[in-house]
């Protein structure tokens, strides 16, 4: 069954619940990473790259806005309230994305892992039974092509360079790996999302595709494959988060909190 618009989805309470949960995952992932990316402004390894990376940050936040808009249509608060006025427990982003930026190698590796995941997740919702989501996914996926290309290039080049760069990249991969499973997932309601055709394949399939493409990149970069993706100790999809998210939110909402009712 297709849901052509918000009104139709709202008629099925269960569909509405699981759909919103998925949209929060999408929106929170994009906003959290976009926010972290924007912290690189003025601090990237070279000026040209700084400009390019900021575009990626803006794209991510722009995508978050799109998903918050969908949530608003489904009866949630306005996008700004959703972005600025929810506690960390209500957030559904992968814990990996809320972590501080670390060095350039960590940021590049995390971003590349995310971009490949995002590409696959968008594939999974490309034929979503919720049509507004399917339409948006197609647009967003076109924008993500550049991100994927950009981050692939950076990831493989840092690896190929050997020396300090490769060592830093290996270290980054090591610290990312235990938290990767919390990102590469559709959350608690995966089976129902599948049943209702909101997504077209499950976490297992997503990870299979991710692994096969990522292995090729690892081999191009000259890196050892770290092995199976372990289940995370802290699952952001369930609202479990680190202190780093609280710090992020406290910074992000500093001005907003002065007067949430004010027009800024």
């Amino acid at each position: 069954m297709k849901f052509e618009n918000a009104a139709q989805a709202k008629q099925n309470e269960r569909v509405l619940t699981i759909l919103k949960d998925l949209l929060f995952q999408l929106a929170d992932d994009e906003l959290t990473l976009g926010h972290r990316d924007s912290e690189w402004l003025g601090l990237c390894p070279d000026i040209e790259g700084d400009v390019a990376f900021s575009s990626i940050a803006q794209d991510e936040v722009g995508h978050a806005v799109f998903f918050f808009d969908l949530l608003h249509e489904l009866g949630e608060e306005d996008p700004d309230s959703l972005a600025f006025n929810r506690s960390s427990k209500a957030r559904r982003n992968g814990v990996l994305l809320e972590r501080g930026n670390g060095d350039w190698a960590y940021s590049v590796a995390r971003h590349y892992f995310y971009d490949l995941f995002e590409d696959l997740r968008l594939q999974a919702i490309a034929d979503s039974s919720y049509l507004p989501l399917a339409h948006g996914a197609a647009k967003i996926r076109r924008e993500e092509v550049y991100h994927l290309m950009h981050m692939h290039l950076w990831f493989t080049r840092l690896g190929k360079a050997g020396g300090e760069a490769k060592e830093r990249l290996e270290k980054a991969v090591q610290s990312i790996w235990p938290e990767l499973g919390g990102l590469l997932s559709f959350g608690l309601h995966e089976q129902e999302l599948l049943k209702h055709g909101i997504i077209s394949f499950d976490t297992h399939e997503l990870r299979r595709r991710w692994t096969s493409r990522m292995k090729a990149a690892f081999s191009e970069a000259g890196l050892m494959w770290p092995g199976e993706i372990p289940e995370p100790r802290m699952d952001g999809r369930k609202g479990e988060h680190s202190e780093e998210l609280d710090e992020l939110l406290s910074t992000m909402t500093e001005v907003y909190r002065m007067d949430p009712a004010a027009n800024w």
Partner: protein, 313 residues
């Protein structure tokens, strides 16, 4: 051709209003004046990203978050364009991008006084976008006629993008001016803090010897005071119109002389800030640039190494 003849021909070109290119012969003095000016301009764009960058993670709505990211990004982009112009001028002196960026944190290049100052509140970010950018736009618009063609070309692009910055800054300010009492107070405080810096921004009233040489070569065609007056013309009425008080009891327009009368900024204090990096944020922001550049040399080196590795395959 003797040096005198070359110089005379060069000056004939300048006086005819011709534009000079990077590969043309030019007097050393012309080259050095240009490097000093454009290097400072480039570095000011890059250092100017920092005060606003501090507010990027705190922007209070999604739209503001996106807009201020785009704005700071543009500034880095302008820094890139200007650095390229300065690099081509400095190439015959054996200087490259690496050197020109290093000069920032080694105190070998100055940057505008305003970017040494603190941005304590969201309203400061707004005032930077509105008035600091406003002042910069007036400065840059006056440079569009510069005799150095590569500079004129990038300025054209920069000015086109500044038109977005102008709207962005005004939009933040207008929201605050129409907002709660607290927001209005925040805006007034920000104006009080920035006013003197803004007047200083245009430089000393008298035409200094260096400025005289720039006018001579038509690198610039207007004096500091002419530009400051134009800034006051354009902005004072607008500042008043939104109910703000300018922190200068002597500020008035002299109808007879057709010019603004204002209390002069503390030339000595701001002069020291720019010369010795003594501003409240100078050292911290220079350190950021050092970390970005020196702390990540390993990245640039790696990218060059892996290009070699890739090319060899």
């Amino acid at each position: 051709m003797t040096e005198d003849v070359r110089y005379a021909r060069f000056m004939e070109r300048i006086e005819r209003g011709e534009k000079i290119e990077a590969t043309d012969w030019m007097p050393d003095e012309y080259r050095h004046l240009l490097i000093k000016l454009i290097h400072m301009h480039a570095v000011s764009e890059i250092m100017g990203a920092y005060p606003e960058k501090e507010w990027v993670p705190k922007a209070p709505t999604l739209r503001r978050k996106l807009a201020i990211m785009a704005k700071v990004q543009d500034e880095m982009g302008h820094g890139q364009l200007l650095l390229r112009v300065a690099e081509d001028l400095a190439a015959p002196l054996g200087k490259t991008r690496e050197d020109l960026v290093e000069d920032v944190y080694k105190s070998r290049v100055k940057f505008h006084n305003v970017f040494h100052m603190e941005a304590k509140t969201w309203a400061d970010a707004g005032v930077i976008g509105w008035l600091v950018d406003g002042a910069a736009i007036i400065n840059q618009a006056a440079l569009l006629e510069t005799s150095y063609a590569p500079y004129a070309r990038v300025l054209k692009r920069i000015c086109a993008e500044e038109s977005f910055h102008m709207q962005h800054g005004e939009n933040i300010i207008l929201a605050l001016a129409m907002g709660t009492e607290e927001q209005k107070q925040m805006l007034q405080d920000a104006l009080n803090y920035w006013w003197e810096s803004l007047l200083f921004f245009f430089g000393p009233k008298e035409v200094t010897p260096a400025a005289e040489r720039m006018l001579h070569y038509r690198i610039r065609t207007k004096t500091n005071e002419e530009l400051r007056q134009k800034f006051l013309d354009k902005y004072v009425p607008r500042i008043w119109s939104i109910g703000l008080t300018i922190p200068d009891p002597h500020l008035r327009y002299d109808e007879e002389k057709k010019e603004w009368v204002y209390t002069e900024p503390d030339w000595e204090k701001f002069g020291r800030i720019v010369r010795y990096n003594e501003g409240p944020k100078s050292k911290e922001r220079m350190e950021l640039r050092r970390t970005a550049h020196e702390g990540q040399r390993w990245v640039r080196e790696a990218m060059i190494r892996s290009r070699m590795a890739t090319a060899a395959v």
